[in-house]
Symmetry: C2
DNA sequence: TGACATATTGCGAATTATTCGCAATAATGT
DNA sequence: ACATTATTGCGAATAATTCGCAATATGTCA
């Protein structure tokens, strides 16, 4: 899982940030996290690297309709989906049986399916 | 399925536009479509109404990670998901067995699940 | 039907997320 | 250590969406 051609400071920091925060994070959150550690990586560089990491399958892009993208390291945990609390924005991982998720797709009309996003929305215990 | 308190020109036009285009559309696409018909609704009003329609469950919000939201009327077709072509952006509806999609969610950690988004990404016949 | 109360619109400006161009800097191979 | 060039930082540019507010249009009720 190699990102770009050089192992730069920025990449180390971004990778570590995502890993440590251990949940789907936005570019801005990565920026803030790095800054908390008295280091800094320009936001534009964070975006550029997230795109690279996505293309090389190092991260997943996760969408909750907040108007921004969230990113999560791919290898860390196995394949899973998310529960997004519409009250407080809390995010939980969930696993589910889905051996047949793609097989069950009726008539994919000639599409070659490469990946899927499945997110659940609801209310966490505190927000119910 | 009532949107707001008044049945305004803007609402008629927006509703008709989404219905006629018959696919998940962005706010801008709604705006352009209405304009083609020599009518006009301000973009801000389109956004405001889409939000209302979403809250009152008249439309679904659909995300493909393009950096914008897409909207689709809810009642028209039954529950379904989408195939998004990463090549040309073409969108197809798909149905699938999912009686047990939610039931299969293991350990929802006290969340009350209200809805889910499931989108597939791949390549359409032309883009393969 | 006409007038009122107020929900909704249009307009312009403001935000927020993300992208771009380019010169300066830092990784890597030799 | 040096040269090559990938990558960064910076500042400006886009794109999507939101906001404030005055003007307008709807639904209601006398």
């Amino acid at each position: 899982m190699k990102i770009g051609k050089r192992y730069t400071q920025a990449r180390k920091r971004i990778f570590t940030a995502i890993e440590k925060m251990d949940k789907p994070v936005s570019a801005q959150e990565i920026y803030d996290y790095i800054k908390q550690n008295y280091e800094e990586v320009d936001l534009a560089s964070i975006y550029r690297n997230l795109e690279l990491m996505n293309k090389s399958d190092a991260v997943n892009v996760i969408l909750f309709g907040e108007g921004k993208k969230r990113y999560e390291l791919k290898n860390k945990k196995g394949h899973h989906h998310h529960l997004f609390c519409e009250g407080c924005g809390d995010i939980k991982d969930i696993k589910m049986k889905e051996e047949n998720l793609i097989n069950n797709v009726k008539d994919s009309q000639g599409f070659v399916i490469k990946k899927h996003n499945l997110e659940f929305f609801g209310l966490c215990p505190n927000c119910q």
